[in-house]
Symmetry: C2
Subunit: 203 residues, 2 copies
DNA sequence: GTCTATAAGGAGATAGAC
DNA sequence: GTCTATCTCCTTATAGAC
C-alpha cells in the first residue's frame, strides 16, 4: 500500500468522524438548543475526547455553523430533487411538509428558531450566509411565482409570506400538538399546512 | 409616625423595588433570553447588589417565573377590559394585536417562545401554571365560541387554532420584518393579523 | 437590608504526554 | 491524532461585616 493511499484512507476516516460529530451535534441541538449544548455532550456522544473534537472544529460556533450549513444543503437538495412539473405552491408545500416531518421525528429543520444571540453568531459566519442566501433566493423565487400565477395572495408583500413561511418551519405549535394532543403525525402535518396557507377562517 | 405606618412605608419601598427588579428582568429577558440573562445583569440594571436581589427572589428561576406571571396577568386584565360587545373573533384579534405591538416596542408578549428547558422550568412552577391555566381557559372559550358562530373554521381542531394562536404571539416573523423590511409597525401588525387569520392564499 | 468578598461548579478551550 | 489533566472565565448563590 502506497503512502498516498494510506493518507487517503486516513483522510476518509477523518471525514467519517467529522460526519459523526455533525450528526451528534445536530441531534443535541434539537434536544437542548445552542446554549445548553456543551462540547462535552458532543464529544461523549460521539465517543471521543474533547481535544479530539477541537481538532475537527476549532470552536463551538464553528461546529454549530457547519451543522446548520449541512441542514441548509439538505433543503437545497430536496428542492432540486422535486418533480419539475410541480407548481410553485406545490413545491413550497412539499418543502414545508418535509421540514415539519423532520421535526416530528425529533430532528431540526433547515431553519431553527434562533435566539437573537444565535442569529447574531450565524450572521458573522460568511459560509453560512452564502448558503442561506442561495436557499432564500430559491424560496423567494417560488413565492413570487406563486403570487404571479394566483396560487398565493398578490396583495401581501412577498417578504411577509417569505418570513412567515420560514417561521412555520420552526413553529412551536408542532411540539405543543405532539405533547398535548392525541393527533397522529400525519394529522399534525395536514393541520399545520392548512393553517399556514389558509389561516383560521372558514373556507 | 407609628411603628405600623413605618413598616408599611418600608413595605411599600420594598414592593416598589420588587417591581423595578421585575421590570428590569422583563426587559433583559426580551433582549437576551433566559439562558443569557444573568443575575448580575439584573442587579446592575436596577442599581442594587446581587445579594439584595436574592433577598427579593431566592433564585433566577423564581425571578423569571414572577416576571412571566406578571405578563400573563397583563393579558388577563387586557381581556377583562375589552368591550363586552365585541365578538369572539374581534377579541382574539385585539389580544393578538396587543401582543404584537408589545413586541414591536421591544417588550415580550404574555407567552414567550420558550426553549424546552424554559418550558420545563415553568411547568414546575405551580403559580405560573395556575395563571396560564386561567388565561388558556379564556382564550380557548373565545376560540370555541368563534368556531360556533362561524367566525373561525369549525373543521379545524380547536387545539390547532389555539396553539397556533399562541405561536403567533411570539412569531419570529415580527423581528425579521423589523430588521429586513422598511414596513411601519402598523403595516407589520396588519400583515401579521392577515396571515394569521387568512393565511397566504388569495381572498 | 445592603454591601464586599467569595465559595462552588460549569463550560469553552488548551498543554503536554504518548 | 488522541487522550488525561488543567487553565480560565463566567455565573449562580451565599457568608459575614456594617
Amino acid at each position: 500500500m502506497s503512502i498516498l493511499s494510506k493518507l487517503s484512507f486516513k483522510d476518509q476516516a477523518f471525514k467519517l468522524r467529522e460526519s459523526a460529530i455533525l450528526d451528534a451535534a445536530t441531534i443535541i441541538l434539537g434536544n437542548k438548543g445552542y446554549d445548553l449544548m456543551t462540547m462535552d455532550d458532543v464529544a461523549s456522544n460521539v465517543g471521543i475526547s474533547k481535544p479530539s473534537l477541537y481538532k475537527h472544529f476549532k470552536s463551538k460556533e464553528e461546529l454549530v455553523g457547519e451543522a446548520l450549513i449541512r441542514l441548509i444543503d439538505g433543503a437545497i437538495d430536496f428542492l432540486a430533487d422535486l418533480d419539475a412539473a410541480l407548481s410553485p405552491l406545490e413545491k413550497l408545500t412539499a418543502l414545508l411538509e418535509w421540514a415539519l416531518r423532520v421535526r416530528l421525528d425529533g430532528g431540526i429543520p433547515f431553519l431553527p428558531s434562533t435566539s437573537a444571540h444565535v442569529r447574531e453568531m450565524l450572521m458573522r459566519n460568511l459560509k453560512y450566509i452564502a448558503r442561506i442566501f442561495k436557499l432564500n433566493n430559491q424560496i423567494e423565487g417560488l413565492v413570487v411565482a406563486a403570487q404571479k400565477n394566483g396560487e398565493l395572495s398578490a396583495s401581501l408583500p412577498t417578504n411577509v409570506i417569505l418570513f412567515s413561511y420560514y417561521a412555520r418551519t420552526c413553529d412551536p405549535t408542532v411540539e405543543y400538538l405532539q405533547i398535548f394532543s392525541k393527533m397522529s403525525k400525519d394529522e399534525i402535518v395536514s393541520n399545520m399546512l392548512h393553517v399556514t396557507f389558509s389561516g383560521f377562517k372558514p373556507e
